[in-house]
C-alpha cells in the first residue's frame, strides 16, 4: 500500500460518486459512474485483490456503463402511456 496513491484515489472516488449522484444529465451520470467503477478497480488492484479488481474493471467500469447507456437511449422525458 502506497499511502499517497491511496489518498489520491479515495479523493477522486468521493468526488466521482458525488458528481454522478448530483449531475442532472443521465448520460453524464452513467459515464461518471463508469469512472467511479474504474477508480474502485484501481484501489482494489493497489490493495492486492487483483481478481476482484479484474472483475470490477470488466463488469463495473465496462459492461454496466454500456447497459446504462443502452437503457438511457431508449428512455424519453415524457411517458407515452
Amino acid at each position: 500500500m502506497i499511502f499517497a496513491f491511496d489518498i489520491i484515489i479515495l479523493i477522486f472516488l468521493v468526488v466521482a460518486a458525488i458528481i454522478s449522484l448530483s449531475v442532472k444529465d443521465l448520460l453524464s451520470s452513467a459515464m461518471i459512474f463508469g469512472i467511479y467503477g474504474f477508480l474502485i478497480c484501481l484501489l482494489w488492484a493497489e490493495m492486492g485483490a487483483v481478481d476482484v479488481a479484474f472483475t470490477e474493471a470488466a463488469v463495473g467500469a465496462g459492461v454496466s456503463a454500456v447497459f446504462f447507456i443502452a437503457t438511457i437511449y431508449n428512455t424519453r422525458r415524457r411517458s407515452s402511456d
Partner: protein, 263 residues
C-alpha cells in the same frame, strides 16, 4: 426540504456508526489478526488455503481454487443467478409479432459524407480491436487458474466484444454472428457443464463437486491434477453462461426487446 434534512441526518448517523465500527478492525494486512493467525492454537482457514491449496489442487491462483473448488457450490449458484437475471430481462422486454412492429425504432441513417467517415473510422478500428479482445477473453478463461481471471471475467470480456460489434455496426450484424437461439442455448449449456461436473462426481460415489475422484474419467496422475482440470472445465461453463447473458441483456435493452436495429 424537511425530508432532505432528515435523510441527511440519518445518513450522517449511519455513516458515523459504520466508521466507529471500522475503528475496531485489525490493521490492513495484520498477520496477527484472528482472520490471519487463527484463534488460540487453531489454524485459521486462510492459513489452510495459503499453505495447502497448491498441494491439494496444483493450482497457483488461490482465489480461483477457492471459488471453483472449495466453494464450488456457491459459484455454481452465482452462475445461476446471472442466468436468472438474463432470463428475467428477456421475459420482461422481449416482444414479437405485431407489437414488435409498433415498438421498432428505426434510427435515422446519416448518409452524408460526414456520417460515412464516422462509420469508416469506427468500423475499421473495431474490426481490428475485436479479434484481439476475443483472444484476450479466451486467454483469461483458459489461464484463470494460473493468473488473475477466470470464467466470470473472461465471459464478460467475450460478451463485451459482441456488444462492440453491435455498437460499431448495428444489432443485426451482431445477431447474424451470435443469434438469439445460439445465446439462449449457450447460457443453458454453460450451467449444464458446471452441474455436469458435479453430477459426474456423484455418479462416481463422491460428494457433489468433489473433483478429486474425476481422475478415473480424466485419466490424470492423481486427484490433484483432476481437481485442476475440473476447475478449468467449470470455468469454461461459467464463461459460456456469462458471455451469452451479457450479450442477451445488451441486445434486449438496446432494442426494447425487438432485436432489430438497436442503438
Amino acid at each position: 426540504m424537511l425530508t432532505k434534512v432528515f435523510a441527511t441526518i440519518a445518513v450522517v448517523i449511519t455513516g458515523g456508526l459504520l466508521l466507529y465500527g471500522v475503528s475496531d478492525f485489525p490493521a490492513f494486512g495484520d498477520p496477527h489478526s484472528p482472520a490471519n493467525a487463527g484463534v488460540g492454537n487453531e489454524e485459521s482457514i486462510s492459513q489452510y488455503f495459503i499453505t495447502q491449496t497448491y498441494k491439494d489442487t496444483k493450482v497457483p491462483n488461490i482465489v480461483t481454487a477457492v471459488l471453483a473448488d472449495y466453494r464450488g457450490y456457491d459459484t455454481m449458484f452465482e452462475t445461476v443467478v446471472i442466468f436468472a437475471a438474463g432470463i428475467a430481462i428477456f421475459a420482461i422486454l422481449r416482444v414479437t409479432g405485431n407489437e414488435a412492429e409498433k415498438k421498432s425504432i428505426k434510427p435515422p441513417l446519416d448518409s452524408s459524407i460526414n456520417g460515412d467517415h464516422q462509420r469508416i473510422i469506427v468500423g475499421t478500428t473495431c474490426r481490428i480491436v475485436i479479434p484481439v479482445v476475443q483472444m484476450f477473453a479466451l486467454y483469461v478463461v483458459a489461464h484463470g487458474h494460473h493468473s488473475p481471471g477466470g470464467g466470470f471475467q473472461g465471459g464478460v470480456i467475450l460478451g463485451a466484444s459482441f456488444i462492440l460489434v453491435a455498437m460499431s455496426e448495428d444489432l443485426n450484424a451482431a445477431l447474424r454472428r451470435f443469434s438469439e437461439k445460439t445465446y439462449l442455448t449457450l447460457a443453458c449449456v454453460g450451467i449444464l457443464i458446471y452441474a455436469g461436473f458435479g453430477l459426474m462426481c456423484q455418479f462416481l460415489e463422491r460428494n457433489f463437486l468433489d473433483y478429486g475422484i474425476l481422475q478415473k474419467v480424466l485419466f490424470t496422475d492423481g486427484p490433484e491434477m483432476a481437481r485442476s482440470h475440473s476447475m478449468l472445465g467449470v470455468e469454461v461453463g461459467v464463461a459460456f453462461t456469462v458471455t451469452a447473458i451479457m450479450f442477451a441483456i445488451y441486445a434486449n435493452l438496446s432494442s426494447r426487446g425487438v432485436l432489430k436495429n438497436g442503438l
